[in-house]
Symmetry: C2
Subunit: 403 residues, 2 copies
């Protein structure tokens, strides 16, 4: 069985070309795009090489079983989709280290007392359909199948059509109590997306919680017109108004310790160079450890944005697209991990993860691997080869200890 | 011959569904897209119904001849492409009124002393390949064929491939002295794109000049990162910097009488909701009657944008994409039009037109038809049916008088 020689860094090398932009080095692996489907096939093949039984559930989540599927199993894994222009580790590191951790446990002669599954969640990033952790939200019932089916990507494809095209029947999407009951405990290993482990000079950390976060869509409406014939004083230009609101959002977030507010997607319509836009759609990502602060910040943004837009003759409206409250991971599982990874620091995650969604229903935990750039969702996201390889050993320690 | 009953409003009704967005009512007819090709075919058919001889020249310009092609002919016409989300009249009004003007002259028994051609220019708007008046620029040599062939649209298609797909051999693009010599005089009729004729309560105006205008591409570079894990103070967010620059541009333009500066296209990269962008591309359209003011304004924008970007830890660069100096139309031709359209006011155009490109090489003139909304490049662009129909009679008066 060749898998015994596999390393995390080696397996990551294998999939490195998939969905990579030759010019920027960034990845574009939206859920059920050709690159992401290629990674899913690759995962199924790697699971097969290890003799793991593979099934794809009604929500498109892949399960690879060491042992028979059973309630109360130990489950690990992550996701294979990426944000546009993302890095190589966000998602795949947790999937690959899970496969190699099974190799390591087998090499050590671990005999599991219960089954173990490696899972791959679809659309963790929400970069295609706008809802992050879509697979785990469907699984747990946090997102209704009707709402999911109606989601569309930027090209106007419905989620129903895209899932059907990938072989996942959209009519069967939805809460899956049987699948959920199989998760006795969930441990997700992930690249760190901040500077915590750099500052602590440590290779791996245990997660304590996930910051509450949400996405809001802002629409600023003005008066579309000709860029050459419309005098400045006759304009109600929604791009100018929306730009002022972007500045406002940044200032309001800076005024609150630990708040983060981001506009990463900004789309004037119709988007012509010589056209004063008729409206602008942009999206606001807001996070804070204290959910009431997040809510208060968004409320303030909405009120001040409307007033600011009005001063430009425009109208601004802000609508919630998704919201996840701050989630603490399971304390007992956290204590178990602290014993199994001695000396590991405990870090809070500013990023959302499927483990944060599952935490509301099953004992869940996370491990974070050092990222020397401190940068994520960017080609500069990085993990040292030795840290990547060691992550499988640490994960094997944790899984073997929990089995 | 059924064309004798044709009216401008009736013909515009015929083509109204082509490329119209059912939701917004706006048009999307980029050059050599399916809708624009459908309009070109429709034009060729209408020319054929009138017994006009049709040829397509090396730059993709359609010529429909009343009489044999000859040097020094009288030429009229406009374009059929639109900006994204544009109106129904910008371009088609001048093409349709030219066809109906020929009907009217024939009904009146006009016997031309020289040939007359109706032309359709490709890519007047520059909305697909970024260079406005592309056909007339190629014809006159203002744009080199090498530069043209290298242009790409948003989907990465080269102009060479798109033109080849529409049956225009890209190897043969370029200056066409023979075709240019056929234009003894050029008269373009166009919907007004401002409020001049509303204020004057007049249905049609004679153009005096076209404002100098240009397009500049701005690139603001920061540090891509994760929206959740990157603290506000650790950011170099190019969206926030670019938004501040958009506000700066608007302020600097307002500070100069008669200046217009517009950002209608703004593209954060990679454009993910939960991603701090790595850079933003946006385009600036700047116009002023005095070219030195336009140049000075752009220079000031470049200097102040760089300083502003630096204050956000970002870098801003501005590069010229196109530039057209202020163009006055032919004075003798203008006097002739003033006699042929008694009482018509004289207006300056804030918008660019193929007539403005041709004016550097051949005597050119324009007629503007009242637009009761004062709005253009928007679904709200409008022409009353009676004004549209009358425009063919006025154009027939002008052409008959010049023939």
């Amino acid at each position: 069985m060749p898998s015994s020689t596999a390393t995390v860094s080696g397996l990551l090398d294998t999939i490195a070309p998939v969905g990579r932009d030759g010019a920027t080095g960034g990845y574009r692996r939206p859920v059920f795009s050709h690159p992401e489907l290629e990674l899913r096939e690759w995962f199924v093949a790697e699971a097969g090489r290890r003799g793991l039984g593979v099934e794809i559930d009604r929500n498109g989540i892949i399960w690879a079983w060491w042992g028979e599927p059973m309630p109360g199993a130990l489950v690990t894994g992550s996701h294979l989709d990426s944000v546009p222009g993302g890095g190589a580790f966000d998602g795949p590191l947790g999937v690959v280290s899970a496969l190699v951790a099974i190799d390591r446990m087998r090499e050590r002669g671990v005999v599991p007392s219960r089954s173990l599954a490696v899972v791959v969640f679809p659309e963790e990033e929400g970069s295609r359909f706008g809802v992050a952790c879509l697979g785990s939200r469907l699984l747990t019932g946090l997102l209704t199948p009707d709402a999911a089916r109606r989601l569309t990507d930027r090209d106007g494809n419905t989620l129903a059509d895209v899932f059907a095209g990938a072989g996942v029947d959209p009519e069967h999407l939805g809460p899956d109590p049987e699948a959920l009951a199989r998760i006795g405990q969930f441990v997700e290993l992930h690249v760190e997306q901040g500077r915590g482990l750099i500052d602590l000079a440590a290779p791996i950390a245990i997660g304590s919680s996930i910051l509450g976060h949400g996405r809001w869509k802002a629409t600023v409406t003005g008066q579309g017109n000709h860029a050459g014939t419309t005098l400045m004083n006759d304009r109600a230009d929604p791009v100018v108004a929306a730009a002022a609101i972007v500045g406002l959002i940044s200032e309001l977030a800076r005024a609150r310790d630990d708040a983060r507010a981001t506009v990463g997607r900004f789309e004037p319509q119709p988007g012509g160079t010589n056209v004063i836009a008729s409206h602008v759609d942009f999206w606001i990502d807001v996070r804070h450890p204290d959910d009431s602060v997040t809510r208060g910040l968004v409320d303030q943004i909405a009120v001040e944005a409307a007033a600011l837009a009005a001063s430009y003759g425009c109208d601004a409206r802000i609508a919630e697209e998704s919201w996840s409250p701050t989630v603490g991971f399971d304390p007992a599982l956290g204590r178990a991990l602290a014993e199994l990874v001695p000396g590991a620091p405990v870090l809070r995650s500013g990023a959302g993860h499927d483990a944060g969604i599952l935490a509301a229903r099953v004992p869940s935990a996370m491990l974070f691997v050092r990222n020397p750039s401190g940068i994520s969702h960017s080609p500069e996201e990085f993990v040292e080869r030795s840290d990547a390889d060691d992550s499988a050993d640490v994960l094997a320690d944790v899984l073997a200890g929990l089995l």
